[in-house]
């Protein structure tokens, strides 16, 4: 059933996901649910001088959801939050050498979770 035809890169990230886990006291936290199939993704970030110094994720979802979360954390790590905010689902899919059409929505989730975490960071910063 799972012969959706993933690229090597997707399988590689799925099998060895980067930045898995939680950050106990994050500077930003984002959690999104997938309206299409009901999956959940969360991203934690530590930020110093607007640079994402650490990032972790957890995902309940398909192979492509796991691979895209892994990829988005790699793309965001070390980036300025404004830059990271501009990472799109297209960027994530491209870096993974493409996703099957019916799996594009999973990459949405990854980008959204990252953006939510950055928004949360900004909101917390504004309160200080």
């Amino acid at each position: 059933m799972a012969s959706v035809g993933y690229s090597k890169k997707v399988m590689e990230h799925f099998l060895n996901p980067r930045n898995v886990g939680v950050i106990e006291h994050p500077d930003g936290y984002g959690k999104v649910g997938n309206p299409v199939c009901g999956d959940v993704m969360e991203i934690f970030i530590s930020v110093k001088d607007d640079i994402i110094t650490d990032i972790k994720f957890r995902t309940f979802g398909c192979g492509s959801a796991i691979a895209t979360s892994s990829m988005v954390t790699e793309l965001a790590k070390g980036k300025n939050v404004d830059e990271a905010m501009r990472i799109t689902r297209g960027d994530v899919a491209n870096e993974l050498e493409g996703l099957p059409a019916q799996k594009m929505h999973c990459s949405n989730l990854a980008a959204d979770a990252l953006h939510e975490a950055i928004k949360d960071y900004r909101a917390r910063k504004a309160k200080k």
């Binding site: 059933m1 959706v4 993933y6 399988m11 939680v22 009901g38 309940f60 959801a65």
Partner: protein, 388 residues
């Protein structure tokens, strides 16, 4: 690494004896069963021999009751559309269990456009049809009721005899999709009171591309495809002789070896279940006892089935899932939802269907692959507290 194939419900390797038996029919030299010369006669004899073997498998009263089709999907379509449309006097109400195959449900839904009404029989948490609900659903206007002999996704075996009594009391016809059951448990159309019964070649370890519909003597059915007069006009088109001859031989062999083989795989299956339910927060789906001997299905909390299938494959074990993420429509399995499971519970489904290639010594590897898969995916899951 040796591969361990546990997805026989999706595609069953064809029995090598069957391939050898049917091989002479694969190159076109045997002829067309409809022609009159000597070549055609050989073909006709082979076709009728295969029919005889399917008759024996289902314990049909007459070999004329067996119509060959291209597979179970076509047999299901013929059974439902062909019977409903041919018997308008029976009424325009159709009933199916909530866990029927899509090739039963969709023809019924399709007939709604032609003025038919359609109801689903609910099932309990084990997937057993609710007989009380069935009694209320079938009325004088019900034409066809479809309840499968056993379900391939959860293994549950349905109480066909009880269903048949209720359906016949109301004067309707009973169609039974025996695709998953035939060859694994006895299916006897006379004993069980079945009017129409679908089987598939590949599920009997025969070649793909053939299936059959049993039509009880006296039940009138009209063709779905129109063309020549093959299969008593019910299934026009030159017969796929290789697949049909193979299906017949596969039916004969499976029937001959059924008791022994069912016993053999049941033991492996039970060992898999014992090992699997020891995994934390894992649950057997389907009926604990009344299930196909070659079937085991589970769900694991907090993780998703497509990921399970992909990781298990890395360990050399091929399995299936009913998760939404794994289906092209992104819809979760209607079978698992019908059991009353929540969407996220269906997500963690894993289905094993055993076959000839499975042996008891594979069990420890499968269990450790599952344990490792579940642990790895739970460590990634925001729903689980298992942090590694």
């Amino acid at each position: 690494m040796d591969q361990i194939y546990l997805d026989n419900a999706a595609c069953t390797p064809v029995d090598l004896r069957v391939i050898a038996y049917a091989a002479p029919f694969s190159d076109g030299t045997i002829g067309n069963p409809s022609t009159l010369h000597s070549r055609g006669l050989g073909a006709r004899a082979a076709l009728e021999d295969a029919r005889e073997k399917i008759k024996a498998l289902l314990h049909a009263e007459d070999d004329k009751c067996i119509v060959f089709t291209s597979g179970a999907t076509e047999a299901n379509n013929l059974a439902i559309q062909g019977t409903a449309l041919r018997n308008p006097k029976l009424g325009n109400h159709l009933v199916a269990s909530a866990i029927e195959h899509i090739s039963v449900l969709n023809p019924m839904k399709g007939l709604q456009k032609q003025g038919y009404t359609f109801d689903l029989i609910p099932v309990d948490a084990y997937g057993m049809v609710d007989l009380e609900a069935l009694k209320k659903l079938v009325t004088k206007g019900t034409a066809v009721v479809s309840v499968m002999a056993a379900n391939s996704e959860i293994g549950t075996i349905e109480p066909i005899r009880e269903v048949s009594a209720i359906v016949h009391d109301a004067g309707a016809y009973l169609h039974v999709d025996a695709t998953a059951a035939a060859g694994h448990i006895p299916v006897d159309v006379q004993r069980d009171g079945i009017d129409l019964c679908s089987v598939s070649s590949n599920d009997l370890t025969g070649p793909q591309g053939a299936g059959a519909l049993y039509i009880k003597s006296g039940v009138k059915v009209q063709p779905v495809l129109v063309g020549g007069g093959q299969e008593r006009g019910l299934r026009p088109g030159t017969e796929n002789l290789f697949a049909i001859v193979g299906m017949g031989e596969a039916a004969r062999l499976t029937q001959l070896e059924m008791v022994q083989e069912a016993d053999r795989v049941r033991r492996i299956r039970d060992a898999l279940i014992t090992g699997m339910v020891s995994v934390k927060e894992s649950y057997l789906t389907g009926h604990p006892a009344l299930r196909l001997p070659n079937q085991a299905s589970f769900r694991f909390s907090y993780i998703e089935g497509e990921s399970i299938v992909l990781l298990m494959d890395q360990f050399g074990v091929q399995v299936s899932t009913g998760s939404a993420c794994s289906s092209l429509t992104l819809e979760p399995s209607h079978v698992l939802l019908a059991l009353g499971l929540k969407h996220e519970q269906v997500h963690g489904s894993m289905v094993l269907s055993l076959g000839k290639s499975n042996t008891p010594d594979q069990v420890p590897h499968v269990i450790s692959a599952v344990t490792e898969t579940v642990n790895r995916l739970r460590a990634l899951s925001p729903l689980s507290n298992d942090r590694r």
